[in-house]
Symmetry: C3
Amino acid sequence: MADPAEAVLCSCAMAIETLIYGIALAGVAVNAAAGVLEAGRKPFDLFGMVVVALAAALGGGSLRDMLLDRTVFWIADQSYLVAAIIAGLATFAVVRVVRLPPRLFLLPDAVGLALFTVSGTQAALALDAPWLVASLMGVITGVFGGIVRDVLCNEVPLVFSGELYATASWLGALLLVGLVSHGVSAGWAALAAGSLVLAIRLLAIRFRWRLPVFSARA
Amino acid sequence: MADPAEAVLCSCAMAIETLIYGIALAGVAVNAAAGVLEAGRKPFDLFGMVVVALAAALGGGSLRDMLLDRTVFWIADQSYLVAAIIAGLATFAVVRVVRLPPRLFLLPDAVGLALFTVSGTQAALALDAPWLVASLMGVITGVFGGIVRDVLCNEVPLVFSGELYATASWLGALLLVGLVSHGVSAGWAALAAGSLVLAIRLLAIRFRWRLPVFSARA
Amino acid sequence: MADPAEAVLCSCAMAIETLIYGIALAGVAVNAAAGVLEAGRKPFDLFGMVVVALAAALGGGSLRDMLLDRTVFWIADQSYLVAAIIAGLATFAVVRVVRLPPRLFLLPDAVGLALFTVSGTQAALALDAPWLVASLMGVITGVFGGIVRDVLCNEVPLVFSGELYATASWLGALLLVGLVSHGVSAGWAALAAGSLVLAIRLLAIRFRWRLPVFSARA
């Protein structure tokens, strides 16, 4: 209680928890929408769209939970599944009528990445995973859904192609692990790490930062 | 005991259980055979055939069991593994000699889909999964094996391409969940749901019912 | 203690355990390196390289552990993760400067396959898995990482294309299961099985032994 900031954080803990839950649902929804947009380039039927949407939205967290032997998050709380299905269907309906600019999804997608990274890393830390494992769980949660989406669409995963995406996730996850191990409270550490992911991702989009692409044969 | 139909169902419960087990093994075998037929279009060796057969036959149930944190069914009972390997090898041997008409597999495949859907949904209900999760587990059990098969063969999953296949599975799974939640006994609910899946699938094949295929760029 | 060979084996058990651990780490590192070499043919960034390296090195053991409901090995012991990342980054660095002959990796890769096969089979036997399941776990541990690597790179899995690779793994795994079930001690059985895998693999490379490739349409 000596730290006033900490006290404020505690007093509004419930509001923050509700906010985090809402952002988590939003992250799932945004990833589902992105899955439908990707699947829309292929001659898929409605079911195929929904499956790709579910895989994109829930794939990362599912793999994390299976690896960590936790109850899979969308089995424990069906709301995530409902959010992903509704978002997928809504995107499907909207895209049939108007053409959405792809950039529309960049901001919520970046928010989703930040949140998935933080929640994945925290879940691993809560189970006393070692630091490198914990940070990797953050990245898996944030990124694996998009990889499954691209594999199902029979394309090379976008996330491997120079976007500063997974790198942003990993740096944020490492910051979170570092702050927590130095005694920073979970709330502040999550805030700092999530902000870092978001900042890197938005700056990368704005200034077209890219990782060098490597090709052994070129 | 007031319901005579229920009494009959109970008295021949063992016979039904044996029948269900037999159909389950047959479903695994049929999916393994379909896997070999699919892999046969690629320049694969015998081992590749067997792997694709195993993935097609056991993939859906394996993912369901890992997601639900149950013991994986073919690890608990090796018979499924044996059935898949024998069916895969037998199909391999037969296909080298005669050319099987693809339609030969449509009926047993539809039976397999019905049974996988029912068993997957029931397994999830037995673990008190929420209704939407339970129905999705039925679809995963019925359909995921075929998706893995196509991904391993580096093709876009067939199940996404307009076939009324996964949709039949989902409708049956939803019917099963609905009946059970309204107090219908597991046996009758399974019978009704399985029949629905089978009926939709066979009608879809007979009358070439298809889901509209969507393409955002066309 | 009647068996002098067994006594020697016991007396140097710790040395052997250290050796096995070292070889396991080396196997992980070699598979990570092979992943980077494969990913290097695609326009991937550094992160993509590392992910493919991790999937190739840890994928097989991860699937085995999730199927068997064990703690995933690289979560229980972070060293494997560190070894895979370092090997992946080092290969990335080296390949940018010199062009490595692909054959350079064949020997350590064969050693890695032998060790992964033995450790995968032993892990399943320790959990009282039936014999066919146990042997398949050896194959999955040895081979699945390479399949994931190829799927992520959007290519047909190499292991399906006639190489006597998975077959060597399966024969060794079956020998291990057979020896253990006939009362041979775990140490000798592992040695014999690992040697068999290594021998078949090296002979197959030397004399270009291949499985016949089958194509239903040709």
